[in-house]
């Protein structure tokens, strides 16, 4: 492990930066808009764009059952990421673009590559496409990195990382980054998966654990009987005692399905630990809303009145009614689906907040109606 320079967040000033400034001038905007520039530029080089981040697939490697890593090399517009952050990956499937959010699993690298580790979900349109069709040399689009789920700065003396399933990716990026930067922090790293075949990065974690005395790796299997030395069943207080009796003193980071984060939070509260785990659940609590009384939805631009259900995201209901609103992440982060609500009350499914202001902009994917709602769609 060699001490590294801090290359990770410094924005890379690409050759298009002066060009960007030039094109941002009002006079240039009249001559050439971004799409026009990108059109002609892409004839010279498929990755040459003004602002859009286009990344070339450099390598593809299997990581576990139904889990594959894609090593991507973005163009100069990419400004780097901090371990733990997300990017939105956009691919075109049968003429339509689809975006999904992933956390890079690699440490930010000097070569600027981004590794996305993708688990294939049954029936998952994008993950299925990535696994079956994406090939080395293909070009995909990325967003800039975003999100606050990052290591505290300065790095705490003791860390506990708990990863459920493919939730390992941001935590793996943090761990790899710590080790690459030679930061000698005491890390307890637990990775849970359904079976042994579903454990991601298992070989590398074992190897790293052997090389770094301050890194303590635990594996947990929830759907099979565990081997000696492994954790059996879902994450519990018993597991916590076994791997980190000093959990109260540790800065804890949790990433996995919603249930894992709920369990951890409940456990921390029950034990009265001062600092709750920092967590990220990749299935926001959308399914937990069970109230489904019938309400009326009006889409003014489309002249459509339909019967809707309270508690169900408006994006889903609009699509169900045959509309095609813009959408992106479908988890309330990209704001692609921002839409003017003309009347009615909606509940923010992430925060539980209910707002009834007329003419307010809401994000359709995380807003569920709690009354009749009229949308400018």
């Amino acid at each position: 492990m060699s001490p590294q320079t801090k290359h990770r967040t410094a924005p890379r000033v690409g050759f298009t930066a002066p060009l960007n400034r030039l094109l941002a001038a009002p006079i240039m905007r009249m001559l050439l808009d971004e799409h026009v520039f990108d059109f002609y530029a892409s004839r010279l080089d498929p990755q040459l764009t003004l602002n859009r981040i286009l990344a070339r697939v450099e390598a593809i490697r299997p990581e576990a059952r139904n889990v594959v890593s894609f090593v991507l090399r973005p163009n100069r517009n990419w400004r780097g990421f901090r371990p733990g952050q997300h990017v939105q990956l956009t691919v075109e499937i049968d003429g339509a673009r689809h975006a999904r959010t992933y956390s890079p699993s690699n440490a930010p690298a000097a070569d600027g590559t981004v590794t996305l580790t993708v688990k294939r979900h049954p029936g998952g349109r994008v993950s299925g496409y990535l696994h079956e069709h994406l090939a080395v040399g293909d070009i995909v689009e990325l967003s800039q990195a975003f999100g606050d789920f990052v290591l505290p700065d300065p790095v705490p003396a003791k860390l506990l990382m708990i990863a459920g399933g493919s939730g390992i990716t941001p935590l793996m990026a943090m761990l790899r980054d710590l080790l690459a930067r030679g930061i000698d922090t005491d890390v307890v790293f637990a990775h849970y998966a359904h079976t042994h075949r579903d454990l991601i990065f298992a070989g590398e974690l074992v190897h790293l654990g052997e090389r770094h005395p301050n890194l303590h790796v635990y594996f947990g299997v929830t759907g099979r009987s565990a081997l000696p030395g492994e954790l059996s069943g879902r994450f519990s207080g018993h597991h916590l005692d076994r791997m980190a009796s000093d959990a109260a003193e540790r800065c804890t980071l949790v990433c996995g399905p919603g249930g894992l984060l709920d369990t951890a939070n409940a456990l921390w509260r029950e034990r009265g630990y001062a600092e709750l785990p920092r967590g990220e659940a990749f299935t926001p609590g959308l399914a937990t809303v069970t109230d489904t009384s019938e309400i009326a939805l009006r889409f003014t631009r489309s002249f459509k009145d339909v019967r809707g259900k309270s508690g169900v995201p408006l994006l889903v209901q609009a699509e169900g009614a045959g509309l095609r609103p813009r959408s992106g992440c479908r988890m309330g982060i990209c704001r692609s689906c921002t839409c003017r609500k003309q009347s009615g009350a909606v509940k923010n499914l992430l925060t539980g907040e209910i707002t009834a202001e007329p003419d307010e902009d809401i994000r359709l994917c995380i807003s569920a109606p709690v009354s009749d709602v009229t949308l400018d769609l």
Partner: protein
């Protein structure tokens, strides 16, 4: 209102008629995919290369053939961009691609009318209230009298000349359209509101004027004048063509207009029926359809304004069959015939609705028709 030549339908028949069109729509929408995305990108490619070619030729515009060719190519590029790309994209026909380059909410066209004003006056007002006199402001654009239902006024005597000016400056007519100047004149709309709405209109207008009449000519250095003249020529070509195509879509011989009362509790089937009766198609080949922005399939466009235009040709076969099945007139004809009919309206309704005038115009039109041997004029 304009008498209907179609068989009156019962409520049940109207519902069944609407259901058949809904079914057609669903079938096409479910089938949208890679081919449609490829189509709109090919149109985009043609727009970009023809613009580049046109402007490059104009930069060599000191040579007359290069100037003429450049003007023509740039005009063609603007036609393609406004009509087959911009108009259709701004309708949301390609929103399903989720590509910001082809999305109705982000696209802005090479036209003096801003995208936002256009989406309001066209996508919303015109496409919802199509040919409802008093509601659809495209019926005469607030200053032309094209149907007997519109009350006559002596000022309409000037409309043949006004139409010619509109044709030449069509993009400016469209840009001003959403401001509803006639309502300001009638005192129905405050000057204050007009001033507020004028701001974005002026911003877009300035951008368009600077682009074609200052920046590109300046870039050409010593060839300032030929480039500016070429750009003007290209804009004129686009204006006149757009005017012609659009007048052929709603102002032909047998299109119908409607009183506001039809809007009360209008069903989906009735809306479809009104769109069919209010629109007219143009026969032609594939290239003609593309250059008209597929507005040659005006009927299909009005029935399915947000279905990709490249599908209208195949939908037209079905729509024609459904219209026949329900005894409805499917208004289509040759370009010459439909255009002559629209021009006839401009002359005819400049004059008041009195029998001698009507007869005089008919005789005159017949005479002109015989002189030019255009059978269509007598249609």
């Amino acid at each position: 209102m304009t008498s209907s030549q179609a068989r009156p339908l019962t409520r049940e028949e109207v519902a069944a008629f609407g259901a058949e069109l809904d079914e057609l729509r669903s079938r096409i929408v479910a089938d949208l995919g890679e081919n449609d995305a490829r189509y709109v990108r090919r149109i985009r490619d043609a727009v970009r290369w023809s613009e580049l070619g046109g402007r490059a030729l104009l930069f060599a515009g000191i040579l007359p053939p290069a100037w003429a060719l450049g003007t023509l190519l740039l005009g063609l590029s603007k036609i393609l961009e406004n009509m087959e790309l911009g108009h259709n994209v701004m309708h949301g026909q390609y929103d399903w691609m989720q590509d910001p380059e082809f999305h109705s909410q982000t696209y802005d066209w090479d036209n003096a009318c801003s995208a936002i004003a256009w989406r309001h006056s066209h996508n919303y007002v015109h496409h919802t209230f199509t040919n409802v006199v008093g509601r659809d402001r495209d019926v005469g654009y607030g200053f032309l009298r094209l149907f007997p239902e519109q009350p006559w006024h002596p000022a309409y005597l000037l409309q043949p000349a006004a139409s010619l000016l509109l044709a030449l400056g069509f993009q400016w007519g469209v840009a001003l359209h959403d401001l509803e100047l006639e309502r300001v004149l009638r005192g129905e709309k405050s000057v204050e509101q007009l001033r507020r709405e004028l701001k974005p209109v002026l911003r877009k207008a300035r951008r368009q004027l600077l682009k074609d009449y200052a920046i590109f000519p300046l870039l050409a250095g010593p060839f300032f004048v030929p480039v500016m003249a070429g750009n003007l020529g290209a804009n004129l070509i686009r204006n006149v063509w757009a005017f012609i195509i659009i007048f052929c879509g709603h102002f032909t011989e047998r299109v119908e207009t409607f009183p506001e009362s039809v809007l009360e509790s209008e069903t989906r089937g009735e809306w479809y029926l009104r769109q069919l009766k209010a629109s007219s198609n143009l026969d032609g080949g594939r290239l003609f359809h593309i250059l008209s922005g597929n507005l040659s399939h005006q009927i299909e466009h009005h029935l399915f304004p947000d279905v990709p235009a490249n599908r209208y040709a195949e939908m037209a076969v079905e729509v024609k069959r459904i219209a026949a099945e329900y005894g409805q007139h499917y208004n289509t004809g040759s370009f010459a015939r439909q255009f002559a009919a629209a021009m006839k309206r401009i002359v005819r309704y400049a004059l008041p609705n009195v029998a001698p005038v009507r007869r005089a115009v008919d005789i005159l039109v017949e005479h002109v028709g015989r002189l030019h041997g255009v059978e269509a004029l007598r249609a």
